[in-house]
Amino acid sequence: MMDVTAVNGTMPKPGYLESAQLSIRNVTKVFPGKKGLFNRITRQTSRDFLAIEDINLDIEPNTFVTIIGPSGCGKSTLLNMVAGLSFPTSGDLILNNQPITGPGPDRGMVFQTYALMPWMTVEDNIRFAVETVYPRMSLQQQRRIVKEHIQLVGLSGAEKKHPHELSGGMRQRVGIARALAIDPQILLMDEPFGALDALTRGFLQDEVERIWEQKRKTVIMITHSIDEALLLSDRIVMMTRGPAARIDEVLDVPFGRPRQREVIEQLPAYHELKAEMERHLFRETRAVEEARVLAK
């Protein structure tokens, strides 16, 4: 296992930073197999699955962190544990010096498939989140927050539309607005642009960069795209393949902000980082494919 802080070159204290907003310490997740008496009788047993093993990561406030790795490496598992939707088998997740015991509005989540309520308008989807988190807030202020966030993601004029009347890119804007409207400390994004076509994707990445400059919230984003990671993040966490996925390496992205795609693509560091990530991803993906061939 590689020590994350050592990679950063800061403190030698193992896996723990005083200034960290979120600390992931020795986290392991095992999905238990079916092996109870009933399963044995019906002959539907399966083995335990070790998804991720001994992950250590410290995330400082106001940083944009991207997690990248081959598919099935447990990236979403890790993010779901930060969200409080599932729990580690061993290890701790600590947010602002408090262990994470469940989901909460201090973490806003953006889903790959948007997860908008189809029966609610754009406005209602965002208001539902605000109302749920701040039930005592005056209606006037709720309305103001909703309006503000619709403007932030550039959806003014589409307030009264239902999700099925919007394009994929617009739907994800609503998803981002909904996550930000509750004013979370950390924004969690699970492959937010994975379901979009390449052009919309690039456009939305630029939008997220613009919004991030305004809000400067801590973000943890999962992605498969190297360019996306380089454009948006301060640090890139590269994970190995599963099962028993680990953190392979954490890269610091040194480009200044605000960033522009055309500008950073000209920098020599951009190409060095990109080459390194490609090497890592190709190696891991090839290993995954080979393992699959052997399994069959």
Binding site: P103, A115, M117, W119, F128, H162, E165
Partner: protein, 279 residues
């Protein structure tokens, strides 16, 4: 360039017989033609005595239909009642039984669907009771209530409950886990999750269950009323005793039309709650 000229040619070709090019218009034309053919065959066949003895002609039946439709509300005692009254009697029974069934089935379905354990535990009851013919309940209803009116309502209730119950439980149990993840990350209460997310998310299923139930209620009432003394079902039974076939055909037609109307009300309701989802 080639594609433009080709589409231009096609457009010109369409305008020549544009009336028959439209799919809806073609369907209407086929419908009218087949109906005319059927009526002619019936008229000729009845006149030539091709069918059973005493089979009325199409024109005679349509004449009766016109008379019943233009004189819907008269009352010369229980065996000579306008078809409008009979229709209202049947609709009233269906409305009471169906409303009661829905008021039981929807909340019960939600409760069963929310808990996977309850879903598995109560499924055998539902699966057992669902396929029972409505008429099998008739003697039991008459014995318990000793009243034809209440028995009619009871049979509607007991037979139209199941599709709504099954669909509601299914819809609630299969709400997209993503919606639930959203409510969890927001920290929504159980109550708020159920009423603001689970029920609206299951609404397309609930409404299609209600639609199937309504169809069943309308099927059942006609059969049950043959033994109950009033309503459209009894009208048919009475005309059978009179051996007057045209009126039986008139009643069959009216039952079909009313069923169609009820169904299309629910179909539009289904569209109203779908919001781009297919149900």
């Amino acid at each position: 360039m080639t594609s433009r000229s080709r589409s231009g040619k096609r457009r010109r070709g369409e305008s020549v017989n544009s009336l028959l090019a439209n799919e809806t218009l073609r369907a209407i034309a086929l419908f009218v033609a087949s109906l005319a053919l059927f009526l002619i065959f019936w008229e000729v066949g009845a006149n030539m005595k091709w069918f059973a003895k005493g089979m009325p002609t199409a024109s005679k039946t349509l004449e009766e239909l016109w008379w019943w439709v233009t004189h819907p509300f008269f009352d010369n005692g229980p065996n000579d009642l306008g078809i409008g009254w009979n229709l209202l009697i049947s609709l009233r029974r269906v409305a009471i039984g169906y409303t009661a069934a829905s008021l039981i089935a929807v909340p019960l379905g939600v409760l069963i669907g929310i808990s996977p354990v309850a879903y598995k535990a109560f499924n055998p009851y539902v699966q057992l009771l669902k396929p029972i013919s409505p008429l099998a309940w008739l003697p039991l209803g008459l014995y318990i209530f000793r009243d034809s009116e209440q028995t009619g309502v009871f049979i509607i209730l007991i037979s139209s409950m199941w599709p709504t119950l099954v669909n509601t439980a299914f819809g609630v149990a299969n709400v997209s886990p993503e919606y639930l993840d959203v409510t969890k990350t927001l920290g929504a209460s159980r109550f708020r999750t159920i009423f603001k997310v689970i029920i609206p998310a299951a609404l397309p299923n609930i409404v299609s269950g209600l639609r199937i139930s309504m169809g069943i209620a309308w099927l059942v009432i006609v059969a049950a009323e043959m033994l109950l003394g009033t309503g459209l079902g009894y009208f048919i039974w009475n005309e059978w005793n009179n051996l007057y076939i045209p009126n039986i055909l008139v009643a069959i037609f009216i039952i079909g039309i009313v069923g169609l109307l009820l169904d299309s009300i629910f179909a539009s309701f289904e569209r109203f709650v779908s919001f781009g989802r297919k149900s």
